[in-house]
Amino acid sequence: MLQIIKIAWRNVWRNKLRSFVVILSIVLGIWAGLFIMSLTLGLNEQRMNGAINTYLSHIQIHNPKYLNDPDIHSFILHRDETLSALQQNENVKAFSTRANVISMVSSSKGAFGVRIVGIDPEQEKKVSNIYTMMKSGEYFTKFKRNPAVIGQKLADKLGVKVRSKIILSFQDMDKEIISAAFRVEGIYKTSSSRYDEFNIFVKRQDIDRLAKLQGNIHEIAVICPSINQVAQTTAILQQAIPDSQVRSWSDVAPELGYAQKMMSSAIYIFMGIILFALAFGIINTMLMAILERRRELGMLMSVGMNKVKLFLMIVFETIFLSTIAVPVGMLLSYLFIQYFAHKGIDLSAAAKGLESLGIGAIIYPYLPTHFYFTITLMTVLVAFISSLIPAKKALSLNPAEAVRSI
């Protein structure tokens, strides 16, 4: 067997240019496939993480009625018990209480429907990174009376800047329409222009006072130490506060979870297509190699090399080509992905389209380690399957004819 392996290995290097071309095509195939995979996963990961870090958080708690009708009266029942349950759960890293009120915002330029999110800024900083996304102004540090932080898109639509006044009109707990002036203290810009257009942040104490909420809240955003603890924590919290609806980020935004699953499957299909194309390249090269070596293969059969050894020799040759190419392709892909994972790929030209999908203009490719192993196995398997046709062709040679062929 060692001799067969030795011959197969040396055969790989008989025609260096051809072997190099095959190896290069496998390397480039792997590189292209893995890079596209990392880009796709990176896009999705960014979209998911962006949504979680900006507005979804890991877990959200609401009054079940609020989910069907976000009415001001659908506040969280048993607020103190709920907060106590959160404080006692060690998987809760941070949480922020929010008072949400559907409202109309108006300026001299127009009026638009928005959601007022009443927050405690210091609490909110622990569950949302919007405070890091300020395009201008400050995040609740300067103005004492009715400050508001609004999205860039909304500011553009309203034609307002920092320090401009806006009027918020909403129904209070007594079903009276209240109008109040707020001053724009800061303008934020997330990766989702839709979010920026719809959400105005104010201090919870301000909206509480104006809407007569009496300390009631509509939403609690919870962050766990890691995303892996979300499902378990959700279940535990739901048990502890049965009157509220406890939902994980994937329940709140199922499309993000579906997208992640769909993309994981899609990238395998994509890689499968690349490998399928590669398989034809390998088959073609090996068939060429066999046609060129008909006389030699005829001799080997004539002098007594049995079919199993001949078959193995061809299979080994093909597998060697791929086993040289796979580590090179993997290393190249790894270095490439790591480089851009830190540096990012600037897609500013498509920024508007990406932002409407909730993705920033800089894409950071991301590929979990297990994909490298899976693709290695897939490539070697494809090489093995590709070797079967040339090996079968070799076995079908008539030694008497092959040995005399030119």
Binding site: M299, L300, S302, V303, G304, M305, N306, N398
Partner: protein, 226 residues
Amino acid sequence: MSIITTKDLFKIYNADSEIEVRALNGVNLDIQEGEFTAIVGPSGSGKTTLLNIIGGLDQPTSGSVIINDTEVTKLSSNQLIDFRLHNIGFVFQAYNLIPVLTALENVEFIMMMQGQAKDLRQKRAIELLKAVGLEKEINKRPNKMSGGQQQRVAVARALASKPRFVLADEPTANLDSKSTAQLLDIMAALNQKEGTTFIFSTHDQRVIDRAKRVITLDDGKIISDV
């Protein structure tokens, strides 16, 4: 003692068609152990076909080939491969060495397939390469050797498995006269010294002159045997 016997050997290509070719037309032949035989005849007379059938590389349309009490024409393809490995040495017109192996490795290769231990096969390979005058070339690959040297390696390889006989199909066709003479000297010496049976198919008068027995074929029939 008879080592090879062919009985009523027929080989018809494209049978039952308008372009039927009768390559062998009832060949009856006995080859004794230790013979140095040349099978001669014009192109298309059936020399190579006869050698292929004796060597188990091709099947006759009818008739039988018996080698040392084994009717090889009845063996399955896998049995034939094994039979060839242990009983027949081949020398081809175009040398047909394995280009990625050295001379030593080429000679060892057959013994390796026979499952012989490394030290034994290396020792025999070196002995054989010495016998064909290539002791200085053992680590050279075929592309670094002349045609004559390559054919001598092929002879050493053919003998490595200690075959019952060696079939050589036009072994001197690609060689110059000096290399031909050297090769024939070596094969004749091995024939005399080790009693190895050699059967050649050839056009080459130099080979015919050195053969102890010359069988002439024409139109697939033996027309003389001297």
